[in-house]
């Protein structure tokens, strides 16, 4: 009698089995990036935190925390930072939305060039924008020269550039592309048929604006939220623009850190403000991730039940 024996199926290689001459455990690949993160992010933050809990003599103390957090200077800086960040973000969202809509839906010669120029701004350092503002709108700038030549030497520009409004305008100018870019990407994948159908369903007096409000913006909301959140985070931490405006009365948290740490050499206080700044940024980032996660899950597409459709059809018939 002949016995047929099924051949043994090939065994899959065991985890970590030999694949080549060099065998490196999978866990080993985690170590280098972990070390890098710890070295370049974790360690400085721990150092800052450690510095914040020492007094001027180097002894462990929470006195710096209580002093800084209860000071009017900190509260004012916190308020000013929030004002500038929120104002800049709202401005960038409005201007960025307008630019993105025009670039996406209003064909005009040179639209591609404008889009690329907006991209170019992303590559520039932030202080450059402020420097340009200073040359244009500063007390010795081009606009002042024009006003002087027209109205005489007594005529001067209002000091907008060195005010919080000037900082906000500069930040709007620099950070608007951060809204435009994701919004343009979202608008480019918006189905044209949806806009056409929406347009056909409109009525007298409820045309393009209603389509924008009820169709376009809800669909690009995740992109708008992403751009806005990014701008909010960046403006919260922006230092170069505030510094280059030369606005003496505009003290934001980064400026306060700089003043305390570099000018006054009060490192514990600077460390407290820096820690507060980090906590604020992380909190905002967490809120952004949570919100973005909600938006993403809202747009996720579960598998439709074809059977339910058939059932409906049968029921209807």
């Amino acid at each position: 009698m002949t016995t047929l024996t099924a051949p043994a199926p090939p065994q899959p290689p065991a985890p970590g089995a030999e694949r080549g001459p060099l065998r490196i455990p999978a866990a080993a690949w985690v170590v280098p990036p972990l070390l890098l993160i710890l070295g370049f992010v974790g360690w400085p933050m721990v150092t800052v935190l450690g510095e914040s809990v020492r007094d001027q003599n180097g002894a462990l103390s929470l006195s710096s925390w209580s002093t800084v957090l209860t000071s009017g200077e900190f509260r004012n800086a916190l308020l000013r930072t929030a004002q500038i960040a929120v104002g800049s973000t709202i401005g960038a969202l409005i201007l960025g939305s307008f630019l993105a809509l025009v670039l996406a839906f209003v064909p005009f010669p040179g639209a591609g060039l404008v889009a690329r120029l907006i991209d170019t701004v992303l590559a520039l350092p932030s202080f450059l924008i402020t420097l340009a503002f200073t040359f244009l709108y500063g007390s010795a700038g081009v606009l002042q020269a024009v006003i002087t030549s027209v109205a005489g030497p007594g005529a001067t520009l209002p000091p907008i550039l060195t005010s919080p409004l000037g900082v906000i305008l500069a930040e709007i100018t620099f950070f608007t592309p951060f809204v435009v870019r994701p919004l343009l990407a979202a608008l480019s994948v918006l189905p044209r048929e949806q806009l056409e159908v929406a347009a056909s369903l409109g009525s007298l007096g409820a045309g393009p604006l209603r389509v924008l409000r009820t169709v376009v913006f809800p669909e690009v909301l995740p992109a708008l939220a992403a751009g806005g959140s990014l701008v909010l985070l960046l403006t919260l931490n922006e230092f170069g623009i505030v510094l280059f405006t030369g606005a003496k009365d505009v003290t934001t948290l980064p400026v306060l850190i700089y003043t305390r740490g570099v000018v006054s050499l009060d490192l514990p206080s600077a460390a407290v403000v820096a820690t507060a700044q980090v906590v604020l940024s992380l909190a905002l980032y967490s809120a952004y991730r949570f919100g973005f996660g909600r938006l993403s899950s809202r747009d996720a597409t579960p598998e439709p039940q074809e059977g339910a459709g058939n059932a409906a059809l049968v029921a209807h018939q």
Partner: protein, 417 residues
């Protein structure tokens, strides 16, 4: 340029719910201009359905978009109920539009999608609720009002799209390939739904764009065949199927074989005896033909028959070049001895025993083909891509043809499904 006149240049009757009057449209990009529509005139009466049929890129969807107001014609005018709407935006035309991709608003629930046009019209809330319920009921989606579009199947989404278009009670309904995105089973079901819907909209003019002739035949009162931006033929569905006026329409609608023939005699007003080599056949005709004149005999694949005999006055000797079993029928491609440049396709019921290379005879039964002009110039080199004799057979059966539907295939390429 658009004509400033608001009077139709074509002969018009006030009963036209829709009139596209000599429409030209060019797509312009920079200095280049690409013609998309040329001299297209379409009329639809209230309660009628007109299907625009044609291969991809023929301009049928473009014509629909001109009517909807999504595209502005380069020349010609658009009239709705005799009113010139050429310069009106889509929202002011009061037209319902359903597109292939459904285009439901993903962030709105089904009832909000359906209510979209009603809210735009600022109707009272109770009226909106009533209309939404009515529209959803019309398409059998009453139970799905609180669902989001992503929670629906393709067929359900299409139904919601139709309900959304119907909710504004349009006098004109535009359907742009509404079934193209559905699988074959859902498509059949939705086709029946659309037929029922059409019956329930006696005052609505419907323009139905499709590349599927079976859908056009099933739904339309009239069919317009488009090619390369031009309306090649426009006629009642039955007439166009039974007496296609052109080679292209004959080939596209039903995938007819186009066989070059010579008129031998015209025994009466509606038939002709035609000659292919030494064989003679009786064909239908719609126009006068002089004996000896060249013509093209359009014969659909299901109307031809294979015979074992190679001899006879109405038999053409041929050789089998391929045979494809397709379930209900076998598509046999043959090379006729007398027509060396032509491959003829025949649908034989069931499974056949012929092998490639077998010698067979081709019989063209009397009145199974119709004559079309031989010398009608083709607008361009676009090859009909939607011709499917399978669908043609089905549609022909639906029509219950007194005259077997016919078409001719002059060249192997046009004969290839």
């Amino acid at each position: 340029m658009n004509q400033p006149s608001s009077q139709p240049t074509s002969d018009s009757t006030t009963a036209d719910a829709v009139l596209l009057d000599r429409i030209d449209l060019d797509y312009r990009q920079g200095r280049t201009s690409t013609p998309a529509l040329r001299d297209v005139t379409i009329r639809i009466k209230a309660g009628q359905t007109l299907a625009l049929l044609g291969p991809s890129g023929s301009g049928k969807s473009t014509a629909l978009k001109v009517l909807a107001g999504f595209l502005q014609p380069t020349a010609g005018r658009v009239y709705l109920d005799g009113r010139d709407v050429t310069d009106l935006p889509p929202a002011r035309r009061g037209i319902g539009v359903v597109v292939q991709s459904y285009a439901l608003f993903p962030h709105l629930r089904v009832d909000d999608n359906v209510a979209f046009g009603l809210r735009a019209r600022r109707l009272p809330k109770d009226v909106i609720i009533e209309r939404v319920a009515e529209a959803l009921g019309q398409v059998g989606m009453s139970e799905y009002g609180r669902r989001l579009p992503r929670e629906l199947s393709g067929g359900q989404q299409q139904r919601v799209a139709i309900a959304r278009a119907l909710a504004i009670r349009p006098k004109v309904l535009l359907l742009d390939e509404p079934l193209a995105a559905l699988d074959i089973h859902l498509r059949q079901g939705m086709l029946a739904e659309l037929q029922r819907l059409r019956a329930n909209l006696p005052d609505t003019a419907i323009l139905f764009v499709t590349h599927d002739q079976a859908e056009a035949l099933a739904l339309a009162d009239q069919i317009g065949v488009m090619r390369a931006g031009r309306l090649v033929d426009l006629a009642d569905t039955d007439e166009l199927w039974h007496r296609p006026p052109s080679r292209f329409t004959a080939s596209f609608l039903g995938g007819a074989n186009l066989i070059p023939v010579t008129i031998a005699a015209t025994p009466d007003e509606s038939s002709a005896v035609v000659k292919v080599a030494e064989a003679k056949f009786v064909a239908d005709r719609a126009v006068d033909w002089s004996p000896g004149a060249p013509a093209v005999l359009a014969v659909r694949p299901h109307a031809l028959r294979l015979t074992s005999s190679l001899d006879g006055p109405d038999v053409l000797p041929a050789k089998v070049t391929s045979a494809q079993w397709r379930g209900p029928a076998t598509r046999v491609t043959i090379a006729v001895d007398a027509l060396p440049d032509l491959l003829v396709e025949i649908d034989e019921p069931g499974v056949i025993q012929h092998q490639v290379g077998d010698r067979v005879g081709v019989h063209i039964p009397p009145h199974s083909g119709v004559l079309v002009p031989a010398d009608r110039p083709e607008p361009d080199s676009t090859t009909p891509s939607g011709a499917s004799s399978g669908a043609g057979t089905q549609a022909g059966a639906r029509a219950g043809a007194a005259v077997s539907a016919v078409r001719t295939a002059p060249a192997p390429l046009e004969n290839t499904p």
